[in-house]
Protein backbone atom coordinates (compact mmCIF):
# COMPACT_ATOMS: atom_id res chain seq x y z
CA UNK A 1 0.00 0.00 0.00
CA UNK A 2 2.77 2.38 0.95
CA UNK A 3 4.63 1.29 -2.13
CA UNK A 4 1.58 2.10 -4.27
CA UNK A 5 1.43 5.57 -2.77
CA UNK A 6 5.11 6.08 -3.43
CA UNK A 7 4.62 4.89 -6.98
CA UNK A 8 1.77 7.32 -7.52
CA UNK A 9 3.88 10.15 -6.17
CA UNK A 10 6.68 9.14 -8.53
CA UNK A 11 4.27 9.12 -11.48
CA UNK A 12 2.97 12.58 -10.63
CA UNK A 13 6.50 13.74 -10.17
CA UNK A 14 7.55 12.38 -13.50
CA UNK A 15 4.60 14.08 -15.21
CA UNK A 16 5.47 17.30 -13.42
CA UNK A 17 9.06 17.12 -14.58
CA UNK A 18 7.94 16.66 -18.18
CA UNK A 19 5.63 19.66 -17.85
CA UNK A 20 8.38 21.79 -16.35
CA UNK A 21 11.04 20.86 -18.89
CA UNK A 22 8.69 21.22 -21.85
CA UNK A 23 6.82 24.40 -20.93
CA UNK A 24 9.33 26.83 -22.41
CA UNK A 25 9.60 24.89 -25.63
CA UNK A 26 5.79 24.54 -25.80
CA UNK A 27 5.23 28.27 -25.53
CA UNK A 28 7.80 29.09 -28.17
CA UNK A 29 6.62 26.33 -30.49
CA UNK A 30 2.90 26.68 -29.81
CA UNK A 31 2.79 30.43 -30.13
CA UNK A 32 5.51 31.15 -32.63
CA UNK A 33 6.00 27.91 -34.55
CA UNK A 34 9.67 28.12 -33.65
CA UNK A 35 11.36 24.97 -32.43
CA UNK A 36 14.09 26.11 -30.13
CA UNK A 37 16.64 23.34 -30.07
CA UNK A 38 18.75 25.39 -27.68
CA UNK A 39 16.00 24.85 -25.12
CA UNK A 40 18.07 22.28 -23.22
CA UNK A 41 20.99 24.68 -23.09
CA UNK A 42 18.68 27.44 -21.89
CA UNK A 43 17.82 25.08 -19.05
CA UNK A 44 21.48 24.42 -18.47
CA UNK A 45 22.07 28.19 -18.29
CA UNK A 46 19.22 28.45 -15.78
CA UNK A 47 20.87 25.74 -13.71
CA UNK A 48 24.21 27.51 -13.70
CA UNK A 49 22.52 30.84 -12.93
CA UNK A 50 20.89 29.22 -9.93
CA UNK A 51 24.09 27.64 -8.68
CA UNK A 52 26.12 30.80 -9.13
CA UNK A 53 23.45 32.81 -7.35
CA UNK A 54 23.22 30.36 -4.47
CA UNK A 55 26.97 30.29 -4.11
CA UNK A 56 26.89 34.08 -4.05
CA UNK A 57 24.66 33.86 -1.01
CA UNK A 58 21.26 34.43 -2.57
CA UNK A 59 18.35 32.50 -1.12
CA UNK A 60 17.87 29.30 -3.10
CA UNK A 61 14.18 29.93 -3.84
CA UNK A 62 14.94 33.42 -5.11
CA UNK A 63 17.73 31.96 -7.21
CA UNK A 64 15.56 29.22 -8.73
CA UNK A 65 12.32 31.10 -9.19
CA UNK A 66 13.53 34.60 -10.02
CA UNK A 67 17.21 34.79 -10.90
CA UNK A 68 17.28 31.79 -13.26
CA UNK A 69 14.20 32.80 -15.33
CA UNK A 70 15.39 36.40 -15.53
CA UNK A 71 18.91 35.56 -16.62
CA UNK A 72 17.78 33.03 -19.21
CA UNK A 73 14.95 35.30 -20.35
CA UNK A 74 17.55 37.96 -21.07
CA UNK A 75 19.73 35.45 -22.90
CA UNK A 76 16.64 34.55 -24.91
CA UNK A 77 16.04 38.19 -25.68
CA UNK A 78 19.54 38.61 -27.05
CA UNK A 79 19.22 35.41 -29.06
CA UNK A 80 15.88 36.49 -30.49
CA UNK A 81 17.22 39.87 -31.56
CA UNK A 82 20.44 38.53 -33.01
CA UNK A 83 19.36 35.28 -34.63
CA UNK A 84 15.77 34.08 -34.42
CA UNK A 85 14.28 37.40 -35.58
CA UNK A 86 15.82 36.93 -39.00
CA UNK A 87 14.34 33.51 -39.43
CA UNK A 88 10.65 33.78 -38.55
CA UNK A 89 8.48 31.62 -40.75
CA UNK A 90 11.42 29.39 -41.64
CA UNK A 91 10.81 26.55 -39.25
CA UNK A 92 13.74 24.40 -40.26
CA UNK A 93 16.17 27.28 -40.36
CA UNK A 94 15.24 28.34 -36.84
CA UNK A 95 15.66 24.76 -35.74
CA UNK A 96 19.12 24.58 -37.25
CA UNK A 97 20.22 27.99 -36.06
CA UNK A 98 19.07 27.19 -32.54
CA UNK A 99 20.89 23.89 -32.77
CA UNK A 100 24.05 25.80 -33.60
CA UNK A 101 23.27 28.09 -30.73
CA UNK A 102 23.02 25.16 -28.38
CA UNK A 103 26.51 24.06 -29.40
CA UNK A 104 27.80 27.59 -28.86
CA UNK A 105 26.26 27.69 -25.40
CA UNK A 106 27.76 24.32 -24.51
CA UNK A 107 31.12 25.57 -25.66
CA UNK A 108 30.81 28.82 -23.71
CA UNK A 109 29.66 27.04 -20.57
CA UNK A 110 32.58 24.63 -20.87
CA UNK A 111 35.02 27.49 -21.20
CA UNK A 112 33.48 29.33 -18.24
CA UNK A 113 32.52 26.56 -15.84
CA UNK A 114 34.51 23.59 -17.11
CA UNK A 115 33.09 20.14 -17.56
CA UNK A 116 33.23 19.24 -13.92
CA UNK A 117 29.88 18.29 -12.51
CA UNK A 118 28.50 20.88 -10.15
CA UNK A 119 25.29 21.18 -8.22
CA UNK A 120 23.53 22.30 -5.07
CA UNK A 121 21.48 20.38 -2.56
CA UNK A 122 17.68 20.39 -2.53
CA UNK A 123 16.32 22.77 0.07
CA UNK A 124 13.54 20.47 1.27
CA UNK A 125 14.10 17.45 3.46
CA UNK A 126 12.77 14.02 2.61
CA UNK A 127 9.95 12.54 4.62
CA UNK A 128 8.31 9.22 5.21
CA UNK A 129 5.23 7.70 3.62
CA UNK A 130 4.61 4.66 5.72
CA UNK A 131 7.85 2.73 5.65
CA UNK A 132 9.25 4.68 2.70
CA UNK A 133 11.32 7.78 2.50
CA UNK A 134 10.46 10.06 -0.39
CA UNK A 135 12.18 13.09 -1.72
CA UNK A 136 10.39 16.16 -0.38
CA UNK A 137 11.59 18.23 -3.27
CA UNK A 138 9.51 16.07 -5.61
CA UNK A 139 6.37 17.55 -4.10
CA UNK A 140 7.72 21.01 -4.66
CA UNK A 141 8.21 20.23 -8.35
CA UNK A 142 4.67 18.83 -8.61
CA UNK A 143 3.22 21.96 -7.02
CA UNK A 144 5.28 24.27 -9.20
CA UNK A 145 4.25 22.38 -12.35
CA UNK A 146 0.58 22.69 -11.42
CA UNK A 147 0.92 26.39 -10.65
CA UNK A 148 2.80 26.88 -13.89
CA UNK A 149 -0.01 25.38 -15.94
CA UNK A 150 -2.64 27.44 -14.14
CA UNK A 151 -0.61 30.60 -14.55
CA UNK A 152 -0.03 29.97 -18.25
CA UNK A 153 -3.71 29.37 -18.78
CA UNK A 154 -4.69 32.48 -16.85
CA UNK A 155 -2.19 34.58 -18.74
CA UNK A 156 -3.17 33.38 -22.19
CA UNK A 157 -6.90 33.16 -21.68
CA UNK A 158 -7.56 35.87 -19.17
CA UNK A 159 -5.30 38.80 -19.85
CA UNK A 160 -5.12 41.41 -22.54
CA UNK A 161 -1.48 40.62 -23.21
CA UNK A 162 -2.36 36.97 -23.68
CA UNK A 163 -5.11 37.85 -26.09
CA UNK A 164 -2.87 40.15 -28.10
CA UNK A 165 -0.22 37.48 -28.22
CA UNK A 166 -2.63 34.80 -29.40
CA UNK A 167 -4.11 37.18 -31.92
CA UNK A 168 -0.71 38.01 -33.30
CA UNK A 169 0.20 34.37 -33.65
CA UNK A 170 -3.00 33.71 -35.59
CA UNK A 171 -2.91 36.72 -37.84
CA UNK A 172 0.17 38.87 -37.50
CA UNK A 173 -1.09 41.24 -40.21
CA UNK A 174 -4.37 41.81 -38.43
CA UNK A 175 -2.65 42.45 -35.12
CA UNK A 176 -0.37 44.89 -36.85
CA UNK A 177 -3.36 46.62 -38.38
CA UNK A 178 -4.82 46.95 -34.90
CA UNK A 179 -1.70 48.68 -33.74
CA UNK A 180 0.19 45.86 -32.04
CA UNK A 181 3.70 45.40 -33.26
CA UNK A 182 4.15 41.70 -34.12
CA UNK A 183 7.87 42.20 -33.79
CA UNK A 184 7.46 43.21 -30.17
CA UNK A 185 4.95 40.46 -29.45
CA UNK A 186 7.34 37.85 -30.82
CA UNK A 187 10.13 39.31 -28.77
CA UNK A 188 8.13 39.23 -25.55
CA UNK A 189 6.85 35.72 -26.26
CA UNK A 190 10.35 34.45 -26.85
CA UNK A 191 11.46 36.13 -23.65
CA UNK A 192 8.69 34.36 -21.75
CA UNK A 193 9.50 31.00 -23.32
CA UNK A 194 13.17 31.41 -22.50
CA UNK A 195 12.35 32.43 -18.95
CA UNK A 196 10.31 29.25 -18.58
CA UNK A 197 13.28 27.22 -19.81
CA UNK A 198 15.42 29.03 -17.26
CA UNK A 199 12.91 28.28 -14.55
CA UNK A 200 13.02 24.60 -15.47
CA UNK A 201 16.81 24.64 -15.29
CA UNK A 202 16.69 26.33 -11.92
CA UNK A 203 14.14 23.90 -10.54
CA UNK A 204 16.10 20.86 -11.63
CA UNK A 205 19.49 22.18 -10.53
CA UNK A 206 19.19 20.75 -7.01
CA UNK A 207 18.19 17.35 -8.36
CA UNK A 208 20.78 16.60 -10.98
CA UNK A 209 24.47 17.07 -11.41
CA UNK A 210 25.01 19.93 -13.82
CA UNK A 211 27.51 19.84 -16.68
CA UNK A 212 27.52 22.00 -19.82
CA UNK A 213 26.07 19.12 -21.83
CA UNK A 214 23.19 18.56 -19.41
CA UNK A 215 20.77 20.14 -21.86
CA UNK A 216 21.02 17.22 -24.24
CA UNK A 217 19.34 14.99 -21.69
CA UNK A 218 16.21 17.09 -21.79
CA UNK A 219 15.86 18.47 -25.27
CA UNK A 220 14.78 15.22 -26.88
CA UNK A 221 12.20 14.51 -24.20
CA UNK A 222 10.87 18.06 -24.24
CA UNK A 223 10.78 18.07 -28.04
CA UNK A 224 8.86 14.79 -28.13
CA UNK A 225 6.44 15.92 -25.43
CA UNK A 226 5.66 19.19 -27.16
CA UNK A 227 5.28 17.77 -30.64
CA UNK A 228 3.17 14.86 -29.44
CA UNK A 229 0.95 17.31 -27.58
CA UNK A 230 0.08 19.02 -30.81
CA UNK A 231 -1.07 22.52 -31.51
CA UNK A 232 -2.70 23.41 -28.21
CA UNK A 233 -0.13 24.70 -25.80
CA UNK A 234 -1.53 23.89 -22.41
CA UNK A 235 -3.86 20.97 -23.02
CA UNK A 236 -1.35 19.44 -25.39
CA UNK A 237 1.47 19.79 -22.93
CA UNK A 238 -0.53 18.36 -20.07
CA UNK A 239 -1.97 15.45 -22.03
CA UNK A 240 1.30 14.30 -23.57
CA UNK A 241 3.23 14.82 -20.33
CA UNK A 242 0.64 12.72 -18.53
CA UNK A 243 0.80 9.95 -21.08
CA UNK A 244 4.58 9.82 -21.27
CA UNK A 245 5.10 10.33 -17.55
CA UNK A 246 2.79 7.46 -16.80
CA UNK A 247 4.27 5.13 -19.38
CA UNK A 248 7.90 5.81 -18.54
CA UNK A 249 7.43 5.64 -14.79
CA UNK A 250 5.42 2.43 -14.86
CA UNK A 251 7.99 0.73 -17.04
CA UNK A 252 10.84 2.11 -14.99
CA UNK A 253 9.34 0.69 -11.89
CA UNK A 254 8.39 -2.64 -13.40
CA UNK A 255 11.71 -3.14 -15.16
CA UNK A 256 14.48 -0.55 -15.27
CA UNK A 257 15.11 3.06 -16.26
CA UNK A 258 16.25 2.01 -19.74
CA UNK A 259 13.04 0.16 -20.38
CA UNK A 260 11.19 3.19 -19.05
CA UNK A 261 12.93 5.52 -21.47
CA UNK A 262 12.56 3.19 -24.41
CA UNK A 263 8.88 2.74 -23.55
CA UNK A 264 8.46 6.50 -23.64
CA UNK A 265 10.08 6.69 -27.05
CA UNK A 266 8.09 3.79 -28.45
CA UNK A 267 4.91 5.38 -27.09
CA UNK A 268 5.84 8.55 -28.94
CA UNK A 269 6.37 6.73 -32.23
CA UNK A 270 3.09 4.85 -31.94
CA UNK A 271 1.25 7.98 -30.91
CA UNK A 272 2.52 10.01 -33.82
CA UNK A 273 1.78 7.21 -36.23
CA UNK A 274 -1.82 7.07 -35.03
CA UNK A 275 -2.28 10.79 -34.47
CA UNK A 276 -0.04 12.52 -36.98
CA UNK A 277 -1.10 15.94 -35.74
CA UNK A 278 -0.37 15.16 -32.11
CA UNK A 279 -2.88 14.54 -29.36
CA UNK A 280 -4.60 17.91 -29.61
CA UNK A 281 -4.73 17.64 -33.38
CA UNK A 282 -7.39 15.00 -32.79
CA UNK A 283 -8.77 15.64 -29.34
CA UNK A 284 -9.37 18.90 -27.52
CA UNK A 285 -9.18 20.79 -30.79
CA UNK A 286 -9.14 24.52 -30.58
CA UNK A 287 -8.40 24.60 -26.87
CA UNK A 288 -5.54 26.55 -25.49
Amino acid sequence: MDLATVLIVEIFYSIAVLVVISAGLAVVFGMMRVINLAHGEFMMAGGYATIVAVNAGINIYVAMLIVAPLVVGLIGLVVERLVIRHLYGRLVDTMLASWGLSLVMIGLATMIFGNTTTGISPPIAGFAIGGYQVNGYNFFIIVVAALLLVAMYALLAGTRAGLVARGTMQRADMAAALGYSPDRVYMVTFFCGSALSGLAGGLLAPLVGLVPTTGGTYIAKAFITVISGGASIIVGLLSSATLFGLVSQLFTFAASPVVGEVALLVAAVVLLRLLPQGITGRFFRGRL
Partner: protein
Amino acid sequence: MSGRPDIGATLAVLVVFTLLALVAPAVLETYTLTILLIYGLLAMSLGLVWGFGGILCFGQAAFYGLGAYSYAIAAINLGESTLPFVLGIVVPFLFAGVLGAMMFYGRLSDVYLGVITLVVTLIFFKFMNSTAGPEYAIGQARLGGFNGIPGYQTLNVPGDPDAYIFGDDFYYLVVAIVLVVYALLRWLLASPFGRVAVAIRENEARVELMGYDARLRKTALFAVGGAVAGLAGTLFANWAEIVTPGLFSLGQSAEIIIWCIVGGLGTLVGPFVGAMLLGYLKFALGQQALIDNTLVLGLVLVLSVLLLPRGVVPTLGQWAGLARRRRPRRAPRRRLRPARGGADG
Protein backbone atom coordinates in the same frame (compact mmCIF):
# COMPACT_ATOMS: atom_id res chain seq x y z
CA MET B 1 14.08 14.98 -69.39
CA SER B 2 17.23 15.81 -71.26
CA GLY B 3 19.72 14.59 -68.68
CA ARG B 4 22.50 15.74 -70.96
CA PRO B 5 23.82 18.89 -69.31
CA ASP B 6 24.00 16.84 -66.15
CA ILE B 7 26.12 14.18 -67.78
CA GLY B 8 28.75 16.77 -68.62
CA ALA B 9 28.73 18.20 -65.13
CA THR B 10 28.77 14.75 -63.57
CA LEU B 11 31.73 13.65 -65.66
CA ALA B 12 33.54 16.86 -64.76
CA VAL B 13 32.95 16.22 -61.07
CA LEU B 14 34.12 12.63 -61.39
CA VAL B 15 37.30 13.61 -63.21
CA VAL B 16 38.15 16.45 -60.83
CA PHE B 17 37.44 14.23 -57.85
CA THR B 18 39.63 11.43 -59.19
CA LEU B 19 42.51 13.82 -59.81
CA LEU B 20 42.18 15.34 -56.36
CA ALA B 21 41.94 11.91 -54.77
CA LEU B 22 45.18 10.89 -56.45
CA VAL B 23 47.03 14.06 -55.48
CA ALA B 24 45.65 14.31 -51.95
CA PRO B 25 47.85 11.63 -50.32
CA ALA B 26 50.79 13.93 -50.94
CA VAL B 27 49.23 16.47 -48.60
CA LEU B 28 47.34 14.45 -46.01
CA GLU B 29 47.69 10.96 -44.61
CA THR B 30 45.47 8.45 -46.35
CA TYR B 31 43.77 7.36 -43.12
CA THR B 32 42.64 10.95 -42.52
CA LEU B 33 41.51 11.22 -46.11
CA THR B 34 39.67 7.94 -45.83
CA ILE B 35 37.57 9.02 -42.91
CA LEU B 36 36.88 12.37 -44.55
CA LEU B 37 35.62 10.54 -47.63
CA ILE B 38 33.43 8.35 -45.44
CA TYR B 39 31.98 11.47 -43.83
CA GLY B 40 31.44 12.85 -47.31
CA LEU B 41 29.56 9.75 -48.35
CA LEU B 42 27.42 9.97 -45.23
CA ALA B 43 26.66 13.62 -45.91
CA MET B 44 25.78 12.74 -49.49
CA SER B 45 23.18 10.27 -48.22
CA LEU B 46 21.38 12.99 -46.32
CA GLY B 47 22.00 15.42 -49.15
CA LEU B 48 20.08 13.05 -51.39
CA VAL B 49 17.16 12.54 -49.05
CA TRP B 50 16.92 16.10 -47.81
CA GLY B 51 18.24 18.19 -50.66
CA PHE B 52 16.47 16.33 -53.45
CA GLY B 53 13.62 14.59 -51.67
CA GLY B 54 12.81 17.40 -49.25
CA ILE B 55 12.74 14.90 -46.38
CA LEU B 56 14.51 16.29 -43.35
CA CYS B 57 15.74 13.28 -41.47
CA PHE B 58 17.09 13.89 -37.99
CA GLY B 59 18.13 10.31 -37.77
CA GLN B 60 20.51 9.66 -40.64
CA ALA B 61 22.92 8.48 -37.96
CA ALA B 62 20.56 5.57 -37.27
CA PHE B 63 21.29 4.08 -40.70
CA TYR B 64 24.98 4.88 -40.41
CA GLY B 65 25.18 3.10 -37.08
CA LEU B 66 23.02 0.26 -38.27
CA GLY B 67 25.33 -0.30 -41.24
CA ALA B 68 28.38 -0.31 -39.00
CA TYR B 69 26.83 -2.65 -36.45
CA SER B 70 25.43 -4.98 -39.11
CA TYR B 71 28.88 -5.28 -40.61
CA ALA B 72 30.62 -5.81 -37.27
CA ILE B 73 28.14 -8.41 -36.04
CA ALA B 74 28.13 -10.33 -39.30
CA ALA B 75 31.91 -10.15 -39.61
CA ILE B 76 32.41 -11.67 -36.17
CA ASN B 77 30.05 -14.49 -36.98
CA LEU B 78 31.24 -15.17 -40.50
CA GLY B 79 34.93 -14.32 -40.29
CA GLU B 80 34.97 -13.19 -43.91
CA SER B 81 34.01 -9.72 -45.00
CA THR B 82 32.12 -10.05 -48.28
CA LEU B 83 28.65 -10.94 -47.04
CA PRO B 84 28.93 -8.63 -44.00
CA PHE B 85 29.80 -5.80 -46.37
CA VAL B 86 26.62 -6.46 -48.33
CA LEU B 87 24.59 -6.77 -45.15
CA GLY B 88 25.97 -3.44 -43.97
CA ILE B 89 24.17 -1.89 -46.93
CA VAL B 90 21.10 -4.08 -47.17
CA VAL B 91 20.06 -4.00 -43.52
CA PRO B 92 19.91 -0.19 -43.30
CA PHE B 93 18.26 -0.12 -46.72
CA LEU B 94 15.48 -2.42 -45.55
CA PHE B 95 15.16 -0.69 -42.23
CA ALA B 96 14.92 2.73 -43.87
CA GLY B 97 12.35 1.29 -46.25
CA VAL B 98 10.16 0.01 -43.44
CA LEU B 99 10.54 3.17 -41.40
CA GLY B 100 9.90 5.33 -44.45
CA ALA B 101 6.82 3.35 -45.39
CA MET B 102 5.50 3.76 -41.89
CA MET B 103 6.01 7.50 -41.99
CA PHE B 104 5.04 8.31 -45.54
CA TYR B 105 2.06 6.01 -45.76
CA GLY B 106 0.97 7.48 -42.43
CA ARG B 107 1.19 10.89 -44.11
CA LEU B 108 3.12 12.41 -41.27
CA SER B 109 3.90 16.05 -41.78
CA ASP B 110 7.47 17.19 -41.79
CA VAL B 111 7.92 18.24 -38.19
CA TYR B 112 6.55 14.91 -37.06
CA LEU B 113 8.81 13.18 -39.48
CA GLY B 114 11.70 14.92 -37.80
CA VAL B 115 10.50 13.75 -34.40
CA ILE B 116 10.03 10.15 -35.47
CA THR B 117 13.46 9.89 -37.05
CA LEU B 118 14.97 11.53 -33.99
CA VAL B 119 13.15 9.19 -31.66
CA VAL B 120 14.14 6.10 -33.61
CA THR B 121 17.76 7.19 -33.44
CA LEU B 122 17.42 7.71 -29.71
CA ILE B 123 15.92 4.26 -29.29
CA PHE B 124 18.90 2.72 -31.07
CA PHE B 125 21.28 4.80 -29.01
CA LYS B 126 19.68 3.87 -25.73
CA PHE B 127 19.25 0.25 -26.64
CA MET B 128 22.82 -0.20 -27.84
CA ASN B 129 24.06 1.55 -24.72
CA SER B 130 22.29 -0.90 -22.48
CA THR B 131 23.58 -4.08 -24.08
CA ALA B 132 26.69 -4.52 -21.97
CA GLY B 133 25.40 -7.66 -20.32
CA PRO B 134 26.36 -11.10 -21.65
CA GLU B 135 22.71 -11.80 -22.55
CA TYR B 136 22.94 -9.38 -25.48
CA ALA B 137 24.67 -11.32 -28.18
CA ILE B 138 23.91 -12.10 -31.81
CA GLY B 139 25.60 -15.37 -32.64
CA GLN B 140 29.15 -15.00 -31.37
CA ALA B 141 29.00 -11.21 -31.37
CA ARG B 142 28.49 -9.52 -28.03
CA LEU B 143 26.84 -6.14 -28.52
CA GLY B 144 29.00 -4.71 -25.80
CA GLY B 145 26.85 -1.78 -24.69
CA PHE B 146 28.56 1.55 -24.30
CA ASN B 147 31.97 0.10 -25.16
CA GLY B 148 30.77 -1.18 -28.50
CA ILE B 149 32.18 -4.05 -30.53
CA PRO B 150 35.91 -4.26 -31.23
CA GLY B 151 37.98 -6.94 -32.86
CA TYR B 152 35.98 -8.12 -35.87
CA GLN B 153 37.26 -9.23 -39.24
CA THR B 154 38.03 -6.17 -41.33
CA LEU B 155 37.70 -5.93 -45.06
CA ASN B 156 39.44 -8.65 -47.03
CA VAL B 157 39.73 -9.58 -50.65
CA PRO B 158 36.51 -11.49 -51.30
CA GLY B 159 37.03 -15.17 -50.57
CA ASP B 160 40.40 -14.77 -48.90
CA PRO B 161 40.00 -13.79 -45.22
CA ASP B 162 43.74 -13.33 -44.75
CA ALA B 163 44.17 -10.80 -47.54
CA TYR B 164 43.22 -7.65 -45.66
CA ILE B 165 42.43 -4.48 -47.51
CA PHE B 166 43.74 -1.68 -45.31
CA GLY B 167 45.84 1.44 -45.30
CA ASP B 168 46.39 2.94 -48.74
CA ASP B 169 44.51 0.14 -50.48
CA PHE B 170 41.50 0.82 -48.35
CA TYR B 171 41.76 4.51 -49.21
CA TYR B 172 41.71 3.82 -52.94
CA LEU B 173 38.83 1.42 -52.46
CA VAL B 174 36.86 4.14 -50.67
CA VAL B 175 37.73 6.58 -53.45
CA ALA B 176 36.37 4.12 -55.98
CA ILE B 177 33.25 3.55 -53.92
CA VAL B 178 32.62 7.27 -53.64
CA LEU B 179 32.99 7.63 -57.42
CA VAL B 180 30.58 4.81 -58.09
CA VAL B 181 28.03 6.00 -55.55
CA TYR B 182 28.18 9.53 -56.88
CA ALA B 183 27.72 8.37 -60.45
CA LEU B 184 24.86 6.08 -59.46
CA LEU B 185 23.09 8.79 -57.50
CA ARG B 186 23.49 11.24 -60.37
CA TRP B 187 22.04 8.64 -62.70
CA LEU B 188 19.18 8.03 -60.30
CA LEU B 189 18.43 11.72 -60.07
CA ALA B 190 18.48 12.09 -63.84
CA SER B 191 16.11 9.16 -64.25
CA PRO B 192 12.34 9.65 -64.26
CA PHE B 193 12.32 8.40 -60.67
CA GLY B 194 14.72 11.13 -59.63
CA ARG B 195 12.85 13.80 -61.54
CA VAL B 196 9.62 12.85 -59.87
CA ALA B 197 11.35 12.79 -56.48
CA VAL B 198 12.51 16.35 -56.97
CA ALA B 199 9.04 17.31 -58.14
CA ILE B 200 7.64 15.83 -54.92
CA ARG B 201 9.98 18.06 -52.96
CA GLU B 202 8.65 21.02 -54.89
CA ASN B 203 4.97 20.19 -54.69
CA GLU B 204 3.82 16.87 -53.41
CA ALA B 205 0.13 17.52 -53.97
CA ARG B 206 0.66 18.38 -57.62
CA VAL B 207 2.69 15.26 -58.22
CA GLU B 208 -0.06 13.18 -56.66
CA LEU B 209 -2.58 14.88 -58.91
CA MET B 210 -0.44 13.85 -61.85
CA GLY B 211 -1.03 10.28 -60.81
CA TYR B 212 2.30 9.51 -59.15
CA ASP B 213 2.26 7.74 -55.82
CA ALA B 214 4.37 10.11 -53.74
CA ARG B 215 4.38 7.83 -50.73
CA LEU B 216 6.03 4.99 -52.59
CA ARG B 217 8.61 7.23 -54.18
CA LYS B 218 9.51 8.99 -50.96
CA THR B 219 9.85 5.63 -49.25
CA ALA B 220 12.12 4.39 -52.01
CA LEU B 221 14.28 7.51 -51.93
CA PHE B 222 14.49 7.31 -48.15
CA ALA B 223 15.57 3.69 -48.40
CA VAL B 224 18.28 4.55 -50.92
CA GLY B 225 19.50 7.28 -48.57
CA GLY B 226 19.53 4.67 -45.81
CA ALA B 227 21.57 2.31 -47.96
CA VAL B 228 24.19 4.95 -48.72
CA ALA B 229 24.39 5.91 -45.05
CA GLY B 230 24.71 2.21 -44.22
CA LEU B 231 27.53 1.89 -46.73
CA ALA B 232 29.27 4.80 -45.04
CA GLY B 233 28.78 3.05 -41.70
CA THR B 234 30.20 -0.18 -43.07
CA LEU B 235 33.27 1.64 -44.34
CA PHE B 236 33.59 3.41 -41.01
CA ALA B 237 33.50 0.08 -39.20
CA ASN B 238 36.41 -1.03 -41.35
CA TRP B 239 38.34 2.15 -40.83
CA ALA B 240 37.86 2.42 -37.07
CA GLU B 241 37.97 -1.30 -36.30
CA ILE B 242 35.49 -0.62 -33.49
CA VAL B 243 31.83 0.33 -33.51
CA THR B 244 30.25 2.11 -30.54
CA PRO B 245 26.75 3.40 -29.79
CA GLY B 246 28.15 6.89 -30.35
CA LEU B 247 27.46 6.24 -34.03
CA PHE B 248 23.77 6.51 -33.19
CA SER B 249 24.09 9.63 -31.09
CA LEU B 250 22.21 12.83 -31.67
CA GLY B 251 25.54 14.57 -31.94
CA GLN B 252 26.35 12.38 -34.93
CA SER B 253 22.99 13.18 -36.54
CA ALA B 254 23.54 16.85 -35.85
CA GLU B 255 26.91 16.76 -37.50
CA ILE B 256 25.50 15.25 -40.67
CA ILE B 257 22.88 17.96 -40.87
CA ILE B 258 25.48 20.64 -40.28
CA TRP B 259 27.66 19.24 -43.06
CA CYS B 260 24.73 19.42 -45.45
CA ILE B 261 23.81 22.96 -44.50
CA VAL B 262 27.29 24.32 -44.64
CA GLY B 263 28.03 22.52 -47.87
CA GLY B 264 24.72 23.40 -49.43
CA LEU B 265 21.56 21.52 -50.19
CA GLY B 266 20.23 20.66 -53.56
CA THR B 267 23.56 19.32 -54.75
CA LEU B 268 25.43 16.13 -53.96
CA VAL B 269 28.83 17.78 -54.11
CA GLY B 270 27.87 20.40 -51.53
CA PRO B 271 27.20 18.09 -48.58
CA PHE B 272 30.23 16.05 -49.58
CA VAL B 273 32.51 19.05 -49.54
CA GLY B 274 30.88 20.38 -46.38
CA ALA B 275 31.55 17.10 -44.60
CA MET B 276 35.18 16.98 -45.69
CA LEU B 277 35.82 20.60 -44.70
CA LEU B 278 34.15 20.37 -41.31
CA GLY B 279 35.55 16.92 -40.66
CA TYR B 280 39.02 18.27 -41.26
CA LEU B 281 38.27 21.32 -39.13
CA LYS B 282 37.30 18.99 -36.31
CA PHE B 283 40.58 17.11 -36.54
CA ALA B 284 42.52 20.33 -36.73
CA LEU B 285 40.74 21.67 -33.68
CA GLY B 286 41.59 18.45 -31.85
CA GLN B 287 45.21 19.48 -32.00
CA GLN B 288 44.78 22.77 -30.22
CA ALA B 289 43.33 23.66 -26.86
CA LEU B 290 42.70 27.37 -27.26
CA ILE B 291 39.06 27.41 -28.23
CA ASP B 292 36.41 24.93 -27.36
CA ASN B 293 35.61 22.91 -30.46
CA THR B 294 31.90 22.69 -29.83
CA LEU B 295 31.78 26.45 -29.77
CA VAL B 296 33.41 26.69 -33.18
CA LEU B 297 31.07 24.12 -34.73
CA GLY B 298 28.07 25.92 -33.27
CA LEU B 299 29.21 29.26 -34.60
CA VAL B 300 29.79 27.77 -38.02
CA LEU B 301 26.24 26.43 -38.02
CA VAL B 302 24.56 29.63 -36.81
CA LEU B 303 26.49 31.81 -39.20
CA SER B 304 25.93 29.57 -42.17
CA VAL B 305 22.18 29.50 -41.54
CA LEU B 306 22.13 33.28 -41.27
CA LEU B 307 24.63 34.24 -43.93
CA LEU B 308 24.81 31.35 -46.37
CA PRO B 309 21.24 30.12 -46.67
CA ARG B 310 22.23 28.09 -49.70
CA GLY B 311 25.45 26.66 -48.35
CA VAL B 312 29.03 27.03 -49.46
CA VAL B 313 29.05 25.13 -52.71
CA PRO B 314 25.94 26.63 -54.34
CA THR B 315 27.02 30.09 -53.19
CA LEU B 316 30.46 29.64 -54.66
CA GLY B 317 28.88 28.25 -57.78
CA GLN B 318 26.75 31.33 -58.02
CA TRP B 319 29.73 33.62 -57.62
CA ALA B 320 31.63 31.77 -60.24
CA GLY B 321 28.72 32.22 -62.61
CA LEU B 322 28.34 28.49 -62.81
CA ALA B 323 24.74 28.83 -61.84
CA ARG B 324 23.90 30.48 -65.12
CA ARG B 325 25.16 27.61 -67.17
CA ARG B 326 23.09 25.10 -65.32
CA ARG B 327 19.36 25.20 -65.08
CA PRO B 328 18.60 28.13 -62.84
CA ARG B 329 17.26 26.09 -60.02
CA ARG B 330 15.80 28.08 -57.20
CA ALA B 331 17.47 28.13 -53.83
CA PRO B 332 17.02 24.65 -52.44
CA ARG B 333 14.44 24.98 -49.83
CA ARG B 334 14.63 24.22 -46.21
CA ARG B 335 11.17 25.49 -45.52
CA LEU B 336 8.47 23.04 -44.74
CA ARG B 337 5.27 22.49 -46.51
CA PRO B 338 2.28 23.58 -44.45
CA ALA B 339 0.76 20.70 -42.56
CA ARG B 340 -1.93 18.92 -44.51
CA GLY B 341 -5.52 18.87 -43.37
CA GLY B 342 -6.65 20.89 -40.41
CA ALA B 343 -6.71 24.11 -42.34
CA ASP B 344 -9.82 23.06 -44.17
CA GLY B 345 -11.77 22.83 -40.95
